[in-house]
């Protein structure tokens, strides 16, 4: 079963994404900020990561940049979520190493579509 790490400081958002990802047959783990997610990835690299941009301690962008430098860190397909949806912001996310970008708000159809586009389905 493919694995997915969901990184968001909101418990509710993590729960929503987890529910959708599990419906897509992913085994999900959660982290509440980038630092915890980075530690989790060092133990076991997931197949996919859905990460929020804005989080305390370590934000999503920094997390992606650091992850991509780890051994095996280029493998996970990363979808960055943000309510900051200007074109320069999106380009910044892609330059940092995100494979896909979700503009908030989202629904189950958008999540599934982005999983597919990121090559996770």
């Amino acid at each position: 079963m493919p694995t997915c790490l969901i990184v968001d400081d909101s418990h509710v958002v993590r729960k929503v994404i987890k529910h959708i990802a599990e419906d897509l047959d992913f085994e999900c783990t959660e982290a509440e900020n980038g630092l915890i997610a980075l530690e989790a990835c060092q133990k076991q690299m997931p197949d996919g990561i859905v990460v929020d941009w804005s989080m305390p301690i370590m934000d999503g962008l920094t997390f992606i940049q650091k992850l991509r430098q780890l051994p095996g860190g280029k493998l996970p397909r990363i979808i960055l979520c943000s309510s900051e949806t200007s074109t320069p912001q999106i380009r910044k996310a892609l330059s940092a190493g995100a494979d896909e970008f979700i503009m908030k708000p989202f629904d189950a159809n958008i999540i599934e579509s982005k999983f597919r586009l990121a090559g996770l389905l």
Binding site: T85, S86, T87, I90, R91, L94, E100, F101, I102, M103, F106, D107, N109, I110, S113, K114, R116, L117
Partner: protein, 270 residues
């Protein structure tokens, strides 16, 4: 809604559009036509139906037809179909058209345009297309959705359904209101036109690929067969007909062969 009224709309829509409503859909007819009855000053659906049984204004008939159409669509809907077009159908077609360097594609029931724009992006992303002319025709019965297709403006939500962020940034401009607007590079190769697939197909030329996906699935079997036959005859001899991935070419097995590895795609048997 009275059974006799439902029967009237069933027959009316079947004749005009090929749509074959079932009695379970009577509530849809009721919910969509009641606002039209009010708008046109009829007391209720029954009096609207009485007027429709006479010689109704063309505009009223058009509104009723358009209200019953479904417009469900998204970018790159059924991605594997687009991948097959990109990897198999189009390379073969480009080889066959290497002298003319011209490919035309017709999207039937194009709705709000996402399918036509998806095809346009697919073509733009193909390698070695310098000097080639691509023409995409998107047709639909409903003028309102065609107007939206023509504008090429999509909400943030629509822009995220099926469209990769890379293609979105490359081929769309972000507007101040958050909408995404198709760039001229796409719009310049697409023409949108009102057309009822039940009417003669003379005006559409001879496309190399016809996409008519999930358009005919609610049609009566004999109407559907006749329409698929007409579409097959309208396309180039080496063309490809794309129906919905779960749609078949029942009754036309002598004319159309399914493309291997691509559900819903058919080529003419020579």
């Amino acid at each position: 809604m009275r059974l006799a009224d439902f029967d009237f709309y069933h027959d009316f829509l079947l004749e005009k559009t090929g749509l074959n409503l079932t009695q379970e859909q009577a509530y849809i007819v009721d919910s969509r036509l009641t606002p039209i009855a009010r708008k046109w000053g009829f007391a209720n659906l029954e009096t609207l139906t009485m007027a429709m049984r006479g010689v109704p204004p063309a505009e009223l008939a058009r509104e009723i037809i358009e209200s019953m159409m479904t417009h469900e669509t998204s970018f790159f809907r059924d991605l594997d179909v687009f991948n097959h077009l990109r990897d198999v159908t189009l390379p073969a077609l480009m080889k066959a058209r290497r002298k003319q360097k011209r490919i035309s594609i017709w999207c039937v029931g194009v709705s709000t345009g996402q399918e036509a724009y998806s095809i346009a992006m697919l073509l733009k992303e193909l390698p070695k297309t310098t000097g080639w002319t691509f023409e995409i025709l998107g047709t639909d019965l409903v003028q309102d959705v065609l107007d939206k297709a023509e504008r090429g403006n999509y909400s943030q939500s629509d822009a995220q359904r099926g469209l990769s962020i890379h293609l979105l940034l490359k081929y769309f401009d972000q507007k101040k209101d958050g909408q995404w607007h198709a760039k001229r590079a796409l719009k310049s190769i697409i023409e949108f036109k009102r057309h009822n697939v039940m009417e003669p197909l003379r005006s559409v030329g001879m496309p190399d690929i016809i996409l008519c996906r999930n358009v005919l699935d609610e049609c009566k079997a004999d109407v559907r067969e006749s329409l698929v036959f007409s579409l097959s005859r309208a396309m180039a001899d080496d063309g490809t007909l794309c129906l919905g991935r779960d749609e078949s070419a029942d009754g036309l097995e002598d004319l159309l062969a399914p493309a291997p590895g691509a559900p819903g795609l058919f080529t003419l048997i020579k």
